[in-house]
Amino acid sequence: MLSKVFATIAVAITGSILLYGVSDFPAFGDPHSPANAGVPGSESVSLYFIEESYKDTKVPNIVTSVLADYRGYDTMFETVVIFAAGMAIFAILRVVGNKEETAAKAAEEDSFTNGDHNRIIVGTTVRIVVPVIQLFALYVVAHGHHSPGGGFQGGVILGASFIIIALAENLNAALRRLSELNYVRLAAIGIFIYAAFGIMAQVLGSNFLDYGALQPIFMTDGPEMARSHSMLGVEIGVAFTVTAIMFAIYANLASRGQLVKGL
């Protein structure tokens, strides 16, 4: 009880300090605020992005060009954060036991094969829906640099398609499609793809993640289209990692690290 009182006081103090600073903020939606137009006397980052990003990258979606190119280094490490979260969860939760025994037990309790008719209805529906979900996920990944979307969103949708299989049938059905070995590998390969675009630029004599230097590889007219293609490439890498970790975290949490049966 006492701790709750202290917590409330701490929250109230933090909140009031934050609110106290609000009076100095620029007006909401002000096009001339520092974040939108920069501070007088120094160049504005936001205006640069708005005016120059299409010329630099030929990507109409400014968010993607900032995320995957200008600040691509941050995004790579955001992907590493996801990878690290997955690894931490496996390291803590995964129970390594006698595999044959648990697998046999799981097969015994597999209600799907034992004629549970409710599951048949759900399972059939899911089987029809999953390809559509996955197709849409691929669209979101592939079209990320032209419309809202990208690797993170597409990866989550793709991961959800595996989770829905696990929910409708059982965890083993989903693990047959994406096994433990493969999801750890897939997650690592995703970041590997991302970093490879950066390293290739280094090999060609430019800085890390300077996609413009990849022009000879993509055989494009100028560095702009090379940047555009590379953004698609790194989005695919992000999607790999996010898909694998999304599903893997579900699988480990749902089965308490046993990787059998699930919810």
Partner: protein, 518 residues
């Protein structure tokens, strides 16, 4: 080639981790060579970078080549402030990798590759934090290093370790969110995330620098970092998290995590807000120094009350963090306090590593967790105990160890600034350390009761890792090699304190606040 070093520093551990992710599950024995190889690359990279920085000046690296206007891309920077720290991180990482060999012989080896993946990603996070010159990029890498350290702490088989890790998750998340809130406020008022850019904008626009929003941004960033470094009132998560985690994890986290946070604080003070703004306009340095005084005294007294070796060392870390925060905020004219704090980051990393390695060896070889278990240790393990004594003497501050010289510079700063309470706290804390460690020496040398010797009759309280079958037992050198290397480093760092401090001063003397006083 040299200009690519900043990227190589973070990429080498990243590729090590990915490679282990791809092939590590097959045979856990491939993990150690991969980890060692990738960390060696970083180690030599860090040395090459330092050499370059001290001969040719700071290295700026713009990821993706987005250089102008400043702030559109990510800016990495190695200068005299962080070049030495990079070497320190790389050295600790390589030494702890050797120490971690013993973890491989654990009950089940199926999780070994996860340990190495997390360990390498943690190294990556620390290197990235150190070279980041972008306020948001710093946050991303704080996330990487925090997440991996939560995982590493919880990996131990003890239940209290899991609970401590959960506590740490909560506190760490609050700290990181505070930092992010502060950066958000700063972005709202300046429109930039690049540290150098923010510094210029605050310097040339006094009305922005004086605004409430910037002050609040500073408070939130500072408190966020304080939580991460376990500064006194916010230290609650640290002792359990470090003492219940597996030994190799503790050996890596204890010397580095808090020290990196101190570095981040100093970096934010110097490179983002500017010392003139903090010391002259805000004028809170007295308050912070008093907080540091309380931290030092509380940490030392709490350490005195502990019976477990690792717990005691953890509370000493709380006191040491007080040293560094107090030193950084002394605001004396020649910045000798800041010099002492920066030197102490290196010195404390070496001392803490030495003591935690020794404590880890006590637990693993002799199952000695409590101070009273150490009796007869001088006879059982004379060399390990000798290294422990060197670490302890450095902690107390006996010349020629590095602990003496860092205290010397800190006290000089305290005297110059007229902060007598800080000088007093340092001396009292040294005395308490002397009492603490000489009590341990006495028990280890003479013992409490007549020596019964080699029996292991009493049950260990919470066995962290039991030695497995003897053919899988880790080689003795894996513990001794890093321990002795650290002991030598402590003494060398002390003897060569002059050159090291001169390197640190090259950075500080360029700051306008010092240049005007010289």
């Amino acid at each position: 080639m040299v200009d690519q070093i900043p990227a190589v520093l973070v990429l080498a551990p990243l590729f090590g981790a990915l490679l282990i992710g791809l092939i590590g599950h097959r045979d856990h024995r491939v993990c150690f060579p991969i980890a060692l190889a990738s960390l060696s690359v970083t180690f030599f990279g860090a040395i090459a970078a330092a050499q370059h920085v001290f001969t040719n000046g700071p290295m700026d690296y713009f990821v993706g080549g987005w250089e102008k206007p400043l702030g559109i891309g990510i800016h990495l920077r190695i200068d005299a402030l962080n070049a030495l720290l990079l070497i320190a991180i790389a050295t600790v990482a390589v030494l702890v990798t050797f120490f971690s060999i013993r973890r491989v012989g654990e009950k089940n080896t199926e999780k070994t590759h996860y340990f190495y993946i997390l360990f390498l990603l943690l190294c990556l996070g620390l290197f990235g934090i150190t070279i980041a010159a972008d306020a948001f990029n710093l946050f991303v890498l704080i996330e990487v290093s925090s997440l991996t350290s939560y995982g590493l702490i919880a990996m131990g088989s003890s239940r209290s370790g899991t609970y401590a890790a959960f506590n740490y998750v909560l506190m760490g998340t609050v700290g990181a969110s505070f930092y992010l809130l502060g950066v958000g406020y700063l972005y709202l008022t300046t429109g930039s995330l690049n540290m150098q850019d923010i510094h210029t904008i605050l310097g040339s626009n006094p009305e922005i620098a004086q605004s409430k929003a910037v002050t609040i941004a500073f408070i939130f960033i500072l408190v966020g970092i304080w939580i991460k470094m376990a500064f006194f009132p916010l230290y609650g998560w640290l002792p359990n998290a470090y003492s219940y985690s597996p030994s190799s994890t503790a050996c890596f986290l204890a010397p580095l995590m808090t020290k990196i946070s101190v570095y981040v604080m100093i970096r934010v003070m110097i490179s983002v807000f500017g010392l003139e703004w903090i010391f002259v306009s805000l004028g809170w340095s007295h308050l912070v120094v008093w907080l540091a005084v309380i931290a030092i005294l509380a940490g030392s007294v709490l350490a005195l009350a502990q019976r477990e070796i690792k717990k005691m060392l953890c509370y000493l870390i709380v006191a040491e963090v007080g040293y560094m925060v107090g030193g950084a905020w002394l605001a004396d004219e020649g910045l000798w306090g800041m010099t002492g704090a920066l030197y102490h980051i290196l010195a404390d990393a070496a001392m803490t590593l030495c003591l935690f390695l020794a404590a880890g060896i006590f637990v693993k070889r002799f199952r000695a967790r409590e101070i009273s278990d150490l009796e007869g240790m001088f006879r059982k393990a004379p060399w390990v105990m000798a290294a422990f004594v060197i670490g302890a003497l450095a902690m107390i501050g006996v010349p020629p160890t590095c602990g003496f010289f860092s205290k010397f510079y800190l006290i000089r700063g305290g005297l110059d600034a007229g902060h007598w309470e800080y000088v007093g706290a340092l001396l009292i804390s040294s005395l308490i350390n002397a009492v603490l460690f000489f009590r341990i020496f006495e028990i280890a040398f003479f013992g409490n009761k007549p020596a019964e010797g080699h029996d292991h009759s009493h049950d260990p309280h919470e066995t962290e890792e039991l030695p497995v079958a003897s053919n899988e037992a880790p080689p003795v050198w894996s513990g001794n090699l890093p321990l002795f290397a650290t002991a030598v480093i402590i003494i060398l760092l002390g003897i060569y304190n002059g050159p090291v401090v001169a390197l640190i001063r090259t950075f500080l003397e360029e700051l306008p606040i010092v240049a005007s006083s010289l």
